[in-house]
Each structure stands twice: as C-alpha cells, then as structure tokens.
C-alpha cells in the first residue's frame, strides 16, 4: 500500500460506520456476511458505501455497495447503461458522487482528487485507447514513470514496461503506428508501471481479435498473480471473463444485481434476462 497517506479521515468515526467491522480493523470497509463467515476476503482493498451518482434527473449509480479484496481479479458486467464505467469513474474520482463514500485500504477517498487516488495505488485504463499517438512508445512509457523515478532507475523501469508490453521492437515507433491491440498493451503497461495495488480496466479487449484477447488475458493474469495487483475489469465477452475472473459483479440499472463466481453468474437466468432487455425478475 502507499505509505504517503495524509488523509485524516481514516474511517474510525463511528457515525460513518455503516458496516460490520473487518479483520483489517477498518470499520468502514464493508465485507459481505458470507466473506466474514468463511474467513475469505479479510483483506478488503476497495469498498463503496451507498454510492450514488445522478446526472440531472438520471440516476446512473444507485446506492451501490461494492468491494474488492487485495489481489482479487473481479469482472464487472452488465448491459449498456448499467453504470459500469460510471462506477469506475467514481472510484478514480473522475466523477464526484452525489452521495455515498469510496474507501480504499480503509481510508475515505471520497473527497480526494483523482491524482491523489492514483498516488495511493489506484490506476485506470479508460475505455477509449488514449496513448499519445505522436510520441514514441518509449516516450509514452516514460510519462507515468518520470513522476517517481529518476536516472537509471527510470530507464530500467521504462525498459521493463516496454518489454512487459511486448513492444521492445517498437520502442522508437510513434504510438499511433501500433495496432489497436498493441496500443491496449501499451496502455495497460503504462498503468501497471506505476505499481498500483488496484488496476481498473474499462473494456480492455474491445475490438481485438482472438489472439490479441488471449495476450491481454495472459497479461492481466500474470500481473495479478506475479505482482498481486487487484483488478476490476469491465468486459462484455463472457469467455474472456471466464478466463480471467475469480468473481463477477453484475450491474443493472445502476445497482448491483448479482455477485458471485463466474459459473454461477453465467448460468443465472435472471442475468441472461437482463442482457436480453428484461428486468431480471
């Protein structure tokens, strides 16, 4: 975890304690009763508490309680308009919530600006690829790393990031000349190079062919297993979800509709119903 946390709202205020106390000693980090009963998820990393976001008269996120454990690989699915991207943007601070709280590592991040959240260990890759096209791959990779590493250490980290993205042969090439899949790899590499504890990926394999999807899945799994990075991945492709995920959360109409192991969610007729336009009843 990041150690430069100066947030004094550490969740010890009893008035804001909305859930059962966790084994980590952070009472604001909620865990499900099942998790507590089984002894799993005693290491909750991210938790939202009654999170709500309204755009004018439209409620995009409606009283969402959502948690992710350290090192967990969670997929977030749901029909278009379910609120998946909005939820991630509330976690990163790109959007300010109308109500509710975001806790990370036991600390209330709700009022922190996005860059402070990133410095505490949250990173995100947006849905639309946004590498800096006219810069080289190397220059792109350097940008997140230069914030915290200098000299030889910077160079080493940049080298590693490029190699991990499988782009060593393209480091002098403008990023705009990369394929869509390579750009996705570069973006994930840039996000991972900051050594986050939680990486949020919004549709990382959209528009990719099978081989590229497999490469991204392998990359995510490796980062998760080798570095212990927790992931929340928005994805529609159920095969991809089944390949990488431990658990799946289904969002529908801005709220958590289902949550559980991939196999259970896949076979749930109510989940299939909402994807077909029903209400899941």
């Amino acid at each position: 975890m990041s150690t430069n946390d100066t947030d004094t709202t550490d969740g010890t205020d009893a008035e804001t304690d909305t859930g059962p106390e966790t084994a980590t000693g952070h009472p604001n980090v909620r865990q499900t009763a099942a998790e507590l009963a089984t002894g799993d998820r005693t290491d909750t990393l991210l938790a939202t508490d009654g999170l709500r976001k309204e755009f004018g008269g439209f409620t995009a996120i409606d009283d969402v309680d959502f948690s992710v454990a350290e090192g967990e690989l969670r997929c977030l699915i749901g029909p278009n308009g379910a609120g998946k991207s909005t939820l991630l943007k509330l976690v990163t601070g790109t959007h300010a919530p109308t109500a509710g709280k975001v806790y990370y590592d036991g600390h209330d991040l709700t009022d922190l600006p996005p860059h402070e959240r990133v410095r505490r260990g949250i990173s995100m890759k947006f849905q639309v690829p946004s590498v800096y096209g006219e810069l080289t791959v190397r220059e792109n990779a350097r940008l997140p790393i230069q914030r915290f590493a200098d000299g030889a250490e910077r160079r080493r980290r940049v080298d590693e990031a490029i190699a991990a993205a499988g782009l060593s042969d393209y480091e002098a090439a403008p990023a705009s000349t990369l394929s869509h899949g390579q750009q996705q790899q570069l973006e994930i590499g840039m996000a991972a190079s900051m050594e986050p504890d939680l990486l949020l990926l919004d549709e990382p394999v959209a528009g990719l062919d099978v081989a590229e999807r497999e490469a991204i899945a392998e990359r995510i799994t490796r980062l998760n297993e080798e570095r212990g990075i927790a992931f929340v991945v928005i994805e529609h492709d159920t095969d991809f979800v089944a390949t990488i995920a431990d658990r799946v959360t289904v969002l529908h109409n801005g709220d958590v509709f289902r949550e559980g192991p991939v196999a259970d969610i896949e076979s749930d007729p109510a989940v299939q119903d909402i994807y077909l336009g029903g209400d899941g009843a």
Partner: protein
C-alpha cells in the same frame, strides 16, 4: 502529443558540456534537434546583432517593438500550444504589467525605482494570471469556457481602464489617463545611483534581443523537461494525465502563471519602449493578435511563435492602416485552411523530407538524452 520532432538523437550524441547543454535544449517537444538547426540559429542571432548597424538606430528601435511582442507570442505558445489552454487574456497580463510598470516608474523615477518597476510589472502580470488561473482551474473551468472567461476579462479591463480619466484615477504622480493612457512613462533603467544604466534606442534593442534569446532557450529547456512533457500530456488528454498521478489543475496554473509573467515582460518592455500605455492594449483586435501569430507560426513551436510574431508585426507595421488588419486576417484564414499545423512545422517537415528524413518522427530512442540519465 507533441507534433514537433527534429532529426532525432541517439546514444551517439556527443558527451561533455556541449552534449549536456543540447540534452536539455532538445527533445520531442521542440523543432530543431540537430546541428544544422543550431548553426542556422547562430546565423540568425548574428544577423540580428548586426541589424542595427545595417538599418540604423531608428529602424532598429522600430524593430525592437516586434521583438517585444515576441514575448507575448511565446506566452500564448506555452499556454495554448503546449498546455492546451486557449487564452484570449494574454493582453490582460501584458496591459496590467505595462500599467503597473508605468505607475511605479512614474512615482519612483530613479534607476533603482525603475528597476523595481520592471520587476513589479512582470510580477503584476504573473500575479493576475495566477489569481485568474486559480479560480478557473481549481474551479473546474475547462476548454472553451476558459477562452470565454479570458476574453471577457480583456473586455472588462478595456472598459474599466477607458474610464480612468480624471484626478480620482491618479496614483501618486501617475495619472491613468482614461482613453488617453499614460504618456510619461520613463525609459527602462537598471542599477542604482552612479552605477545605473538607462536603456534606450539601440541599447534597448540589444537588451530585448538578449532577453528574447535567453527566454527562448529557457523555454526550450522547460518544454523538454519532465514538466514540459506533463504540459503536453495535459494538452492531449487531461483525464489520462490525472490517471498518471499528476495534478492537472496545478500544472495548468503553473503554466498559466508563467504565461502571465512572459506577457508581463512583454508589457513592461512595451511601456518602456513607447513611454506610453493605453487601454488600446486591451482592445479585442490586439487581444486577437497573439492567437493569429501563434496559429500561423505553429501552436506548439516556440520558434514558430517568435518567427510569426516578428514577421507578421513587421509586415503589418510596414503596410499600415486598416488594410494591414485585413491582410493579416486573410493570412490567418489561408494558414488555417492550408497549413492547420502552422507554417514553421510545415517548413520543418518539408526540410526533413528533402533531406530524406521522411515524416516519421524519430524522437529520442532512449532516455539517454535525459540529463538525469546521462548523469547517472
């Protein structure tokens, strides 16, 4: 991201002092990363150094005004071209600095007082930019709304300064003068007592030239530094830059304040050059000129900002009258339609194509040109 790319450099770059200096001056965010460029740069500076001996003191003094405007062009290039903040308010900082210099120098009309006025004027421009920028950027104002606010600020100041006629608008010995402006601003001077140096005519030309070269080189270092890369990242995608842990508000505020200081320097030199400043500096037509200069020269080229400012103002001043504005407007349209990236980037690309460099931007292939890495 950056559209400027030079000939590129590799690990074979010369080491030693020269290599380190070039390492700081060159990078992906500036045109002219080659020995040929620096040779041309040296020739251009040498030509400007001998210019007064060729054309005489009067023409040199006239030309120095165009060099003064170049600081204003550079201020917008940094703010708009590199950080993506389109400001119509650079003349606000220019005018505030000019008036501040006028008021202080008239009240303290000694070399020491004028030296102080020089610094206070620049500081005034920077301070106004910092205050305006703080409320805009920390208030969440973005994109076109920044442009609108800065434009309105210009118009408000024009209206305000135009009504400052009368004794009630006299600050000490300095009368603001309403539409008539302040006509008795002293020449620039530096030093104290007998060690003072009064700057006028050809000496003013050389002072401005030295300041301009130093500013240009300093800005090259800045835009190729880590912070410069963040500036460009902010321009390209603010949300993405935040996700790298950078405080975009702070970055924009710093750049905007720097732009205010540069515009302030221009304003102080302008007031000292003509011994005069008036609400005309806040007029819409004048406020539009930096946008024209930078658009034609190339938004994200420092060289383009300087070259276009000096060139266009030389042309406009030589032509004179309303036709000058009409011609400059037509030039802007032709440039935007035909060369949307600006003239200087187009010349750079053409030159490199003719030399066989192609259009591929071979920027740094390693971090070896980063001074920190070189030192390591």
């Amino acid at each position: 991201m950056a559209t400027e790319t030079g000939a590129g450099r590799t690990d074979s770059e010369p080491s030693g002092l020269l290599g380190r200096v070039r390492g700081r001056l060159e990078g992906p965010n500036t045109i002219g990363n080659s020995r040929a460029y620096w040779a041309g740069f040296a020739v251009a500076v040498a030509a400007l150094l001998v210019y007064p001996y060729i054309v005489g003191a009067y023409q040199a003094s006239r030309f120095s005004l165009f060099l003064v405007y170049a600081f204003l062009g550079l201020s917008l290039s940094v703010v708009w071209g590199y950080a993506g903040v389109l400001s119509f308010g650079q003349v606000v900082f220019f005018g505030v600095a000019g008036y501040t210099f006028g008021v202080v120098s008239v009240n303290f009309a000694t070399p020491a007082g004028i030296t102080g006025a020089f610094l206070v004027g620049i500081g005034g421009g920077a301070l106004v930019a910092a205050v305006l920028g703080y409320f805009m950027f920390y208030g969440g104002v973005r994109d076109v709304y920044v442009t609108i606010i800065t434009l309105v600020s210009t118009l408000v100041l024009h209206t305000f300064m135009a009504q400052t006629a009368g004794d009630q608008w006299t600050i000490g010995e300095a009368a603001l003068g309403g539409f008539n402006g302040m006509p008795t601003i002293p020449n620039l001077a530096f030093g104290v007592g007998g060690a003072a140096l009064v700057i006028s005519d050809v000496m003013f030309y050389y002072l401005v030239l030295v300041l301009l070269v130093a500013t240009y080189l300093g800005l090259r270092v800045l835009v190729n530094s880590d912070f410069g890369r963040v500036m460009v990242a902010v321009r390209e995608d603010e949300d993405r830059t935040r996700m790298f842990g950078y405080d975009v508000r702070r970055a924009k505020l710093l750049v905007f304040t720097l732009g205010g200081a540069l515009a302030g320097l221009s304003g102080v030199l302008y007031a000292a050059w003509g011994n005069y400043v008036s609400p005309g500096v806040f007029e819409l037509a004048f406020a539009s000129l930096p946008v024209v200069w930078v658009s034609i020269g190339g938004r994200d080229t420092l060289l383009g900002a300087v070259a276009a400012t000096v060139g266009i103002e030389f042309f406009r001043n030589s032509l004179g009258g309303e036709w000058a504005f009409v011609t400059v407007g037509a030039l802007l349209l032709v440039s935007i339609l035909g060369l949307p990236g600006g003239v200087v980037p187009w010349l750079d690309r053409t030159y490199r194509n003719l030399r066989g460099g192609g259009t591929t931007p071979p920027t740094e292939t390693t971090d070896s040109t980063d001074p920190e890495v070189t030192e390591a």
